[in-house]
Structure formats: structure tokens, C-alpha cells
Symmetry: C2
Subunit: 323 residues, 2 copies
């Protein structure tokens, strides 16, 4: 039973919170008189003292007519935020609304140091900013060498499902990232599943490298895990913990033979093999192998995102997680 996009979304509650993080001490910075806005009244700011760092933002939508037996978490990938799952760059509904209309309570978060989680200048190293061209090839909208500053001259993969006219709109969703905050990010996700309790986790790209490790640390909380286009893995030495956590791994089109994604996919496949050897259950699904063609790395923003969501919904049903 698929609820069409015209069906209202009835929520028994919605809200948000920040979770996790810690306090650090900063000293030795000069006290200064600040003007926050032109025409305002100056304020003296003493920037020394304790700071809140590494907390994580989560927003929840609890449906009136619940069908999912557990809350469904939506965790995003690198350089992005929870917006990943909201309205797609082409203006049509994304997976947040899809899964709400399927009757799931949803927790949608922004990873540590991204979006509404906030950030400080106390992280190690510099943040990474992505130029406009970066995601075209890295997210497999087009093959290596197909980018052109002139949008009319860009050559996407034939039959690509990404709405290429909305590429610039998609890039507005980008946020910087640090590459030194993995441990803090994983700690905040652990705090989130500890707070919410047993849940299904649907996660994308870089988020999968975090989610596998969270599941290894909390197999009693991550009841099922759907890893969409993982760009990394958990730790092979910990896979025994995943013995009773059903896992689906999903890749879009043009991944297997891609110079970089082929290697990523092989690494993930090795990790999947290790989980299986430890007695775990993993379904590794290449979408083109089940007849769903043209998907990029950002599957949830592709034109056929509802079709792929349907694959995930059916998998969750088969795992007994839907009433």
C-alpha cells in the first residue's frame, strides 16, 4: 500500500533536540568589543571559557497512523545535512515524506559539525569546501571528464535519473565538513540511538561508515540497517556484533566499474563477506541488477527515488518491521 504524495501527513507530534557533545575550555583569546549587526549596540565579548562542542541536531516526526514497528532514522552523507531526505532539488517530495506516508516515525538528523548541529573553530585541521563541479563526477551524475562549466555542454550518463536541470539547486544543499571528527560523530549517533531506543537506520554514503560502527557498538539498538551507496565500512574485527542485525546494502548504476566507486564497492563487499562469515545476514543489491537503471550516488534525489524507496520499504517489510 503506497500512499500517494497527495495524501496529508498527520503527525501525533513533531519536534527536535540536540544530543551529545561535550564542553571544552578555551583560553588566551582577546576580549573584544563586538558589533553583531550594523546599527546595533556594541557588546563586550569575552571569548574565553567553556564551549559546547560536537553536539548533534535531530528532528522527529511521529505519525498518527503508525505502521513501522520501530522508529526509522534517516542519516545523511558527507558534505550534506538532513536536507538530503527532504524535498528533492527538482522540487518533488523526497524520502522523508515517502516514509512518513508509509507510516514510519522518523528521526532525521544533521551529523556533528554540519547544518543545525553547529560547529566551532576548535576542530583539528581545516574544513573541506566543495566547488560546484565536484559532485557531478564524484556522485556519478556523469562519467569522469563529463563536467563542463557550461551546463549545456555537460554529458551525464545516458538514462541518468538525476534531474540534471536541478544540479545547481542541489549544490545549494552543501555544507563544509571536517575530516577529523569521525569519533565525535559516531559518539553522537550512539547517544541518539541510546536515547531513542531500538530503531531501523537508513543511511547514505559517508554516513554508512558511521552507521556500521554505531551498529557494531549498539547491535541492541540498531535493529536493522539500510546502507545506501556506502562510501566506507565498519571495522572487520567487530563484525560478529552484527550477527543478528539484518543489513541491506544498495548501490545505484555505474558503481561497479567506476574507477573510484568500483574500489569503494569492493571494500564494502569485503566487509559484507566478513559479516556473512560471522553469521550475519546482508543483502547486497545493485539496483541495475534488479532492473532499476540510471541511479546516481544520490539515489534519494533521483527522479525514480520513490521506486528505490519501494525496494527499501519491501525489504523492511520482509524483515518483519512493518505492521
Amino acid at each position: 500500500m503506497t500512499a500517494p504524495n497527495s495524501v496529508p501527513i498527520a503527525l501525533r507530534e513533531m519536534g527536535s533536540f540536540h544530543i551529545g557533545g561535550r564542553h571544552i575550555e578555551v583560553s588566551g583569546r582577546p576580549v573584544r568589543d563586538m558589533l553583531f549587526t550594523a546599527g546595533g549596540v556594541p557588546v563586550t565579548l569575552d571569548p574565553n571559557g567553556k564551549y559546547q562542542v560536537e553536539q548533534m541536531y535531530a528532528q522527529y516526526f511521529l505519525v498518527q497512523q503508525r505502521r513501522g514497528k520501530l522508529p526509522l532514522m534517516l542519516w545523511h552523507g558527507g558534505g550534506l545535512t538532513g536536507v538530503t531526505y527532504e524535498t528533492k532539488p527538482d522540487g518533488t517530495p523526497g524520502w522523508l515524506n515517502y516514509f512518513l506516508r508509509q507510516g514510519w516515525d522518523i528521526y532525521l538528523s544533521d551529523a556533528v559539525e554540519r547544518g543545525r548541529s553547529g560547529w566551532t573553530d576548535t576542530f583539528e585541521g581545516d574544513p573541506v569546501f566543495l566547488p560546484l563541479h565536484d559532485s557531478w563526477e564524484r556522485f556519478r551524475v556523469g562519467p569522469i571528464g563529463s563536467w563542463n562549466d557550461d551546463s549545456a555542454k555537460r554529458a551525464p550518463y545516458p538514462g541518468v535519473q538525476f534531474p540534471i536541470e536541478a544540479y545547481e539547486q542541489f549544490m545549494k544543499q552543501g555544507v563544509p565538513r571536517w575530516v577529523t571528527t569521525d569519533d565525535a560523530t559516531i559518539a553522537a549517533y550512539v547517544a541518539l540511538v541510546d536515547k531513542v531506543g531500538p530503531c531501523a537506520v537508513l543511511v547514505h554514503s559517508q554516513g554508512c561508515a558511521f552507521a556500521f560502527k554505531v551498529a557494531e557498538a549498539r547491535p541492541d539498538k540498531v535493529t536493522a540497517l539500510v546502507a545506501v551507496e556506502p562510501s566506507g565500512t565498519g571495522r572487520e574485527e567487530n563484525v560478529a556484533a552484527l550477527r543478528d542485525v539484518p543489513i541491506a546494502v544498495i548501490y545505484g548504476d555505474n558503481a561497479k566499474d567506476h574507477p573510484r566507486w568500483g574500489q569503494i564497492r569492493r571494500n564494502v563487499s569485503d566487509y559484507v563477506d566478513a559479516i556473512r562469515k560471522a553469521g550475519g545476514s546482508v543483502d547486497l543489491i545493485d539496483l541495475p541488477d534488479i532492473g532499476i537503471k540510471g541511479n546516481t550516488h544520490v539515489v534519494m534525489m533521483d527522479r525514480n527515488s520513490d521506486e528505490v524507496a519501494g525496494v527499501i520499504q519491501k525489504w523492511l517489510e520482509r524483515k518483519g518491521l512493518v505492521d
Copy 2:
């Protein structure tokens, strides 16, 4: 008719988008091999080229049973994001849910360079980070000199409505801000009201300095303006444009005689006088003068936030904006 917090929220649609911003060109930065996540596959990043900057994130909630005649915008203040209006730091519902339950279509945004709007290192100057102690006195939870690192020794204003046990939780909502991005921020808000069309704007603190200027530029789009605890004003030379825009200005307790807020309030009062002289209509409401005591700068997070929201709702009704 006040809908209690137990009433479900029925939405005919919800979604989000990024609006505004521009492309800039960056050059001369070294190409480098990156590893986004430990255990991943390296990628070569060319950081030169076009970048998307200064866009703004907005999320919309369109109610099933509409009573507000226009969409209601919720714009936040400095160092914060749209989370300002979501669940309060003490875990109880905030103004987003209050006004949804009153039947308003709502657009809730994160200002440029904050939260889900993203940021780049191309802004002028350094961002400002706020230590844990900063907001206690500046947001009038307690008087000047009342902060103590030991929470048991902090001395709030007597009868304060802020949930002081949730002060640390509140500080998790903070994000950095630049003080050089006012023009870009105003441009994005103008783009937002141009897209959405005539609307009522409810705005807090620093956001008011932006909203007054947006209303001056688009009096045909900002149909009514509720400025909660403004920390700045519009431009006196432009007040004639506000002749037909009904405005409410609301301050909490302990503002008038506060060393800094007293000056801010006098500046705003001068601006209000200028609007009135130009033929405009402004209601300047000091909450203690109407019997609502103990409110801080973050009125919407105080325990009695629903009571203050009721004052705003009734004002909007009096202005003919509710069916």
C-alpha cells in the same frame, strides 16, 4: 480557540528548499588528494572553480485546516537557526507547533551562513563563536554579573521564565555567525518573500534588523511584521515604505533599564516613532506592562511561551489576518 499540544498536526504538504545566493570564482588553491573518512578510498579534489555561496534554507509546513490568511514566516536571531522555534530546550513544544496548531502555513528558515544554509570560507572576517557563559547575561536570563560556571551558583532574575535547568541544552542550539554578511542575508530574505508572496513575518532579535529592511524593500510582500526583542532597526530614511505594514514590537522583562538592552530599546523606539510619523502603525508592547512577567530575550523558549504566542496570535487576528 487554542489547540492544545495534544492535538495532531495535519499537514497537506511539507518540504524545504534553498533560495538565493550566487556563484563566486575561487582560484589558486592547491589540488590535493583527500580522504573524507578513515578507511575510505582517496579522491583528488580540485578546489578551484565556481562555488555556490549565500543561499538560504527554508522548510515549510502547510496545514490541512488553514485559518491564517497568509503564510507565517518564522525568522530567527543571531547565533542561532530556525531551531529557535522548534521544541524548547526544556523539551516542551515551541512556537512552530503552536502556530501550526493555530492553522498557519509556516515557512521556517535558517539565515544565510547558518545551520542548513551552509557557509564558505570566502566571507569577510572571522566568524564569532559564543562561549557557554555568553548568553546568560546577554539574553537577560540573569542580570550582569550573575553568571557562575557552577550552575548551582548562578543567580537568574527573580521569577525568570527561562528554564534555567535547560540553559546548557539551549547553548547546544548555537551556531557561529559572521558580522559581514548582512547584505547577503537581507538579499536572501527578499528572495524568500518574493518567492512565497504576501506573508506575515514573525522575527526575533538580530533577525528584526534584517526583517525591517526586507519590509522596507518589499512592503507589498511583508503584509504584517511581529518583531520580538529586536536588537536593531531598519533605516529611518526608508520608513515611509512601512506606512501600510502593521507592526508589533515586543520586549520581555528587564529590557527597559538594562545597561545594553535599554539602549537597544531606545534605538528601536526612535525607529518606531519615525514609522509612526510617516503614517505607519506600530504597537510597541513591553510584556511586563500587560502583566506578563519574567520573560528573557528568548521569549519563545521561556516557560510561558504559549502565553506570549497568544498575544501575537490575538494581534494577528486584530489585523484581520485570521479566518
